[in-house]
């Protein structure tokens, strides 16, 4: 299982005298094995939402539930891919990926097996004994994804995981993620600035307003994807040319544009 539910969630930072409302009345349900992307202007509270689900932070009001249980602390069943990778600099690629498995007392032989598989899947085998600083940003990002994926988590939380990548690497990673998601579907909460990325990857896209962050609109991409058979296209650029894709993308753009205009006014 892996159902995430935001139940009237609010999060206020700052002091009593000078409160800052980061999130207000957030209601959202992500069903089991669903891929939901959150888009919104910078500073609207996307990362804050993700941290609440990870168990790094707690709501000021309302509740965040996973499988109807309130979240109390971080758990490996809710694996996080951090925007800035957060790899352990003194551990090799292998050791970084291995830590979570060791924590679960997985036997050495099985650890080797699972890590070998994930390294292969992410095209990282040649780098298993490298340290993070010896890798490019794209490879580090893949290690961070592998470290989360190897735990076979119920829920995958990704905070702009491709933000640091150049356009080409980004496309490769997006295709890889789709491949992974098909092979082994998980509940995913995915934050991004890139509208195309959200539409390409997600079943649903939630659009947030600028601070105080609320959910303005949730778009169902999946029904359109299925109706228009996006999955029959091999390449991301072929999907991006489809009228149905362009239409959705433009809709989200407009919505975000309004937010920008509102911020300027």
């Amino acid at each position: 299982m892996g159902v995430i539910r935001f139940d009237n969630v609010g999060r206020v930072f700052g002091s009593k005298a000078k409160p800052f409302v980061a999130l207000k009345d957030i209601n959202l349900e992500v069903s089991n094995k669903e891929f939901v992307a959150i888009v919104g202007p910078s500073g609207c509270g996307k990362t804050t939402c993700l941290r609440l689900v990870a168990g790094f932070d707690f709501p000021s009001s309302g509740r965040v539930l996973v499988d109807e249980t309130e979240i109390r602390r971080p758990r490996p069943e809710r694996a996080v891919v951090f925007q800035q990778f957060a790899l352990f600099p003194w551990k090799t690629v292998y050791a970084n990926i291995e830590l979570g498995l060791r924590n679960q007392n997985v036997a050495r032989a099985e650890r080797e097996d699972r890590i070998r598989q994930i390294l292969e899947l992410m095209n990282l085998e040649p780098y298993r004994d490298h340290f993070p600083h010896q890798l490019s940003g794209g490879m580090q990002q893949r290690v961070a994804i592998a470290r989360a994926y190897v735990l076979d988590p119920e829920v995958l939380l990704m905070d702009e995981p491709f933000g640091a990548l150049d356009a080409q690497t980004r496309v490769v990673m997006q295709e890889e993620l789709v491949r992974l998601a098909r092979r082994n579907p998980r509940t995913v909460l995915f934050i991004t600035h890139a509208v195309e990325e959200a539409v390409y990857l997600a079943d649903r896209v939630a659009i947030m307003t600028r601070a105080p962050g609320r959910i303005k609109e949730v778009l169902d991409v999946r029904s359109i994807r299925e109706a228009e058979k996006w999955d029959s296209y091999e390449k991301i650029e072929d999907v991006m040319d489809l009228e149905s894709f362009v239409h959705l993308r433009t809709h989200i753009w407009r919505s975000l544009r309004e937010e920008k205009a509102a911020a300027a006014a």
């Binding site: 971080p74 758990r75 951090f82 957060a86 790899l87 352990f88 600099p89 924590n103």
Partner: protein, 261 residues
């Protein structure tokens, strides 16, 4: 290329400073401005230093005195590191321990190591325990403080990552806090070795019957200023060697992590 020039430059300047210092010293003592008994010339001191390498004074040769001192130092310093580093890391991780220990620690660390001499003498007589206690008093605080700082200022994202991976406390300390704190711990050890080595000689001036400090006291009693200065030079050289070794270790670790600057 620029690195090489910098190195040559600092070598030349350093040597220049040393020569100027020796020249001034020589001028002062050779001209008779300062009586030779109070300040022997650099050459007399060097003569005495070489002489002491194989002649016994106060019961042993200079190398033997140094060895005795170094042994005490090593015990005190290692004890300080073995107790201090884990304590610092634990204080950095468990808030409650921090709150219990910090006030006591902050009070005690301002007491100069030499102030422990009366107790060292009282508790241990002239045995090895006394000097070890004094060295420990000097070397312990920097070990604790730097391990603590290292643990406190670990990138919080790495802690979050470790928590998210389900890492138990014990493992967070040994596999995250400790390695993350290594640079801080090593610079702590450098300070610690310096203070420990300084306190050692202070301690030996008072509670020992071997060691460089003891040799210096005996030199003073015999009005042999050259012996005292030979001791000072030996102390300086060993201190420098210790610091160089630790700095080398620091570099090595930084390089391995790719944090070379």
């Amino acid at each position: 290329m620029p690195k090489r020039i910098d190195f040559t430059r600092s070598l030349v300047l350093g040597l220049g400073g040393l020569i100027a210092f020796l020249g001034l010293w020589y001028g002062l003592s050779a001209s008779g401005i300062v009586p030779p008994l109070f300040l022997p010339t650099p050459f007399e001191v060097l003569d005495r230093f070489i002489d002491l390498l194989d002649r016994r004074f106060a019961g042993a040769t200079l190398p033997a005195h140094l060895a005795a001192s170094f042994e005490r130092f090593a015990y005190g310093f290692l004890l300080a590191a073995i107790v201090g580093i884990p304590l610092g890391l634990l204080m950095g991780w468990f808030r409650i321990l921090d709150e219990i220990v910090s006030p006591i620690f902050d009070g005690l660390r301002f007491i100069a190591p030499i102030a422990w001499v009366p107790f060292a003498a009282l508790w241990f007589g002239t045995g090895i325990g006394g000097p070890i206690l004094i060295i420990f008093a000097g070397a312990f605080p920097p070990c604790v403080i730097n391990a603590y700082r290292g643990a406190k200022f670990v990138d919080p994202r790495l802690i979050e990552a470790a928590n998210m991976l389900g890492t138990p406390n014990r493992r967070v300390i040994t596999e995250i806090l400790l390695p993350a704190s290594v640079p801080s711990i090593i610079s702590g050890l450098r300070v610690s070795a310096g203070l420990g080595w300084q306190s050692l000689v202070g301690a030996e001036l008072i509670v020992a019957s071997t060691g460089v400090g003891y040799m210096m006291v005996q030199g003073q009693a015999n009005l042999s200023t050259t012996t005292v200065m030979s001791g000072m030079i030996a102390i300086g050289l060993v201190g420098l060697a210790l610091d160089t070794a630790l700095r080398f270790a620091e570099r090595l670790i930084e390089r391995r992590r790719g944090m070379e600057t």
